[in-house]
C-alpha cells in the first residue's frame, strides 16, 4: 500500500502542473480574443480617462504575466475575483450554481452507468442475437443525435405538445427530467459498447474456462471472474467522464435555462466576463486532474498487474 501512497503523491504533483498550464493557456486565449470587456460594459460616449481608470481598477493595464500572477495568488487565498458585468463575487456565483450542475451531471452520469452496464452485459451474453443488435443500433442512433437537437425535440414533444413537463428553468424535480434525458440518451452507447467489448474479451480468456473447470457455478463465474475483470476499465471511464460531463452540460444547460455552471460559463464567455470564465475553467481543470488521479489509483487498487507496473516505473 505504500507504493500506492507514493504513486498518489506523485500523481497529485503532476496534477498541479497540469492545472497551472491549463490556466496559463486560458489566460493567453482570453487575452487574444477580440473585443474588450470594458467596451462591452461602457458605451462609446464614456471618456478615455474613465476607461483607463476602469482598466486600472480591474488590473487590465498590467502585463499579462503580472495579471496571471495576481490571479493565482488571489486564488490561493480563495478569492476568485469579481464579475466584470455585475460586480458579484465569482466565488458566490459558483457556490450558487455548482449544486445545480452537480444535480444534473451527477445524476446523468449515475443513471448512464446504471442503465448501460447491465445492457452491455446483456448484449455480450446474447452476442449476435437480435437483442444484441437492436441494443447496439438504438444506442448508436442516440449517439448520432446532437444533444442540442435532442433537447429541443424533447421540449417540443413533452413540454409544448403534451404539456407534461416544464420547458425550462428549475422549478422542482420534474424540471430535471428533460435535461437528464438529453444528457443520458446520447452517452449510453459508449458505456454499453465498452462494457460489451470488455465482457466479450474476458469471456474468451482461458481463466474463465479454468473457473468453470474447477466447478464454480455459472453465476459465480459471471460475477467473480467475468464482471469483476471486465468492469475495471469501465470504472476508470466513469471517473474520466465526470469532468467532461460538466463541460458537456454547457449546451444542455443553455437549452433548458438550467441555473448551473454550464450556462454561467456560456454567458460569461459571450460577455467576455473573464474572471467567471477563469474561475469555472479552473474548477473543471481541478476536477479533471482529481478524477484522473482517482481513476488511476482505483485501477491500481483493483488490478494487481497495474500495481506491479507502478513498482517497475519507480525503480
Amino acid at each position: 500500500m505504500n507504493d500506492l501512497l507514493e504513486y498518489t503523491i506523485r500523481r497529485l504533483i503532476q496534477g498541479i502542473f497540469v492545472v497551472i498550464v491549463v490556466t496559463a493557456i486560458l489566460f493567453i486565449i482570453m487575452q487574444m480574443m477580440p473585443g474588450d470587456p470594458i467596451q462591452l460594459i461602457s458605451s462609446p460616449r464614456v471618456s478615455q480617462e474613465k476607461i483607463d481608470e476602469l482598466k486600472e481598477l480591474w488590473g487590465l493595464d498590467k502585463p499579462i504575466l503580472v495579471q496571471y500572477f495576481y490571479w493565482i495568488s488571489n486564488l490561493l487565498r480563495g478569492d476568485f475575483g469579481r464579475s466584470i458585468t455585475t460586480g458579484q463575487k465569482v466565488i458566490d456565483l459558483l457556490k450558487s450554481r455548482l449544486p445545480y450542475t452537480l444535480m444534473l451531471s451527477g445524476s446523468a452520469l449515475l443513471i448512464n452507468y446504471i442503465i448501460a452496464i447491465p445492457l452491455g452485459l446483456l448484449a455480450a451474453y446474447k452476442k449476435d442475437t437480435i437483442l444484441d443488435k437492436v441494443l447496439v443500433i438504438i444506442t448508436v442512433i442516440f449517439r448520432a443525435i446532437p444533444d442540442f437537437w435532442l433537447g429541443i425535440l424533447l421540449i417540443i414533444i413533452f413540454s409544448v405538445s403534451l404539456k407534461l413537463l416544464p420547458v425550462s428553468g428549475y422549478s422542482g424535480l420534474e424540471s430535471l427530467v428533460l435535461p437528464l434525458l438529453t444528457m443520458t440518451l446520447p452517452y449510453l452507447a459508449s458505456i454499453l459498447r465498452l462494457t460489451r467489448s470488455e465482457v466479450l474479451e474476458v469471456i474468451r480468456e482461458k481463466h474463465v474456462s479454468t473457473a468453470y473447470a474447477k466447478g464454480l457455478k455459472m453465476k459465480v463465474v459471471l460475477i467473480k471472474h467475468i464482471l469483476r475483470n471486465a468492469l475495471i476499465p469501465v470504472t476508470v471511464m466513469f471517473f474520466l467522464s465526470f469532468p467532461w460531463l460538466i463541460g458537456g452540460s454547457v449546451i444542455v444547460e443553455s437549452i433548458f435555462a438550467w441555473p448551473g455552471m454550464g450556462r454561467l460559463l456560456w454567458k460569461a464567455i459571450s460577455t467576455q466576463d473573464f474572471p467567471i470564465v477563469q474561475g469555472i475553467i479552473f474548477i473543471i481543470a481541478l476536477l479533471t486532474v482529481t478524477c484522473n488521479t482517482a481513476g488511476d489509483i482505483l485501477t491500481a487498487f483493483l488490478d494487481p498487474r497495474i500495481r506491479a507496473e507502478m513498482k517497475g516505473e519507480r525503480t
Binding site: E205, S209, G215, L216, M218, I232, P304
Partner: protein, 323 residues
Amino acid sequence: MEKDLIKVNNLSIKFNTKLGYVSAVDDISFNIKEKEIFALVGESGSGKSTTAYALMNLINARNSIKKGEILFKGKDILKLNEREMTKIRGKEIAMIFQNPLDSLNPIYTAGSQVYEAIALDKVEKREAWNRVINIFKEVRLSDPEQRIKSYPHELSGGMRQRVMIGMMLSRRPELLIADEPTTALDVTIQSQILDIIKELKSKFNTSVLVITHDFGIVAEIADRVGVMYAGKILEIGDVYQIFENPLHPYTQLLMKSLPRITKKEGRLQTIEGSVPNLTDDIKGCRFNNRCPYSLDACKGEDSEMLEIEKGHYVACHLVVKEK
C-alpha cells in the same frame, strides 16, 4: 482388467461457422480405464482439444451440434444440464489447459484461486487454507506460505502450471484432463510437470487424459494412445503397440518424422500435403490425399475400426487388405 471410467461412443461435434459447418470431431469412440493415462495425439486442428472440452461439457451449445454419447461412470455427460454438470466439473472431472500464462485469473492471488475450488466442498476456512498450502507442497512449489499470496504475474509459467495442477487435483477428481500441459513451457520444466502429474496420479488414483502433439510426452507418461487426424481417431493401442508396431500409415509417418538422436541423416522426414479442409464433406479416409499407400477403396467408404491384435485397433483399408 480395469473398469472403464469413461466411454466415448460415436462422438461427433460440428461447429457452425461463417464458412458453413466444420466437423471438428467425426464419429470417434474410445475409452479411458480407471487409473490409466490415456493420450490423444494429433496435429493442431485434429479435434483433440475439442474432444477434451466436450468431456467437460464446455462447448458452447449455441453454435455447435453434438452427436453420440460420453458415458462417465454410466451417465451420459452430453445429456446433463448445467446444474448437474457443475457438480461433476472439478469434483469428478477436472481439466488443466494449454497455456498456464493466462489460465489463472490475473486479479486474484494464486492461493485464493485454489481456495475457491476447495471451498466448494464446504470445507471450513482455516482447514481449506491449510489444504491450499499442502497442495502447493504436493506440486513442489517452494515456499508455499509466500506463494499463496502471489499474483499470477509474479509466478513463472512452470509455477503457474503447478498451481493449476494443484487447483484441479485439490478436489480429488477421478479424471484429470491435461490439454497440452507442457506446450508453453521450457523443456526442463516440461519433464518436472510430467513427473508431478505422474506422481499425483498414482497417489490419488486419478485417471488422466493427456492431449498432446508430442510423441515424446506420450512415451514418457501414457499407458494407451489414440492417434487423431482431422477429427478422426485412426489408431488406438497401448503405448508399446503404437511405438513398436504402428499400423496406420499416418502413425508410421508421424513416427518417422520424430527427430532421433541415433539417426545420422541431416533432414527430418516430413509428411507431404496438408490437413483437408474440414468444411468440405469428406468421403472416405481423411488421410488419403497425403497417404503414400492410398488405394481406390480409401476414396470410397470410410474404414471401420478393426482390432488387429488385442487392444490394438486401426481404421485403414490397407491393413484390412493385407490381413
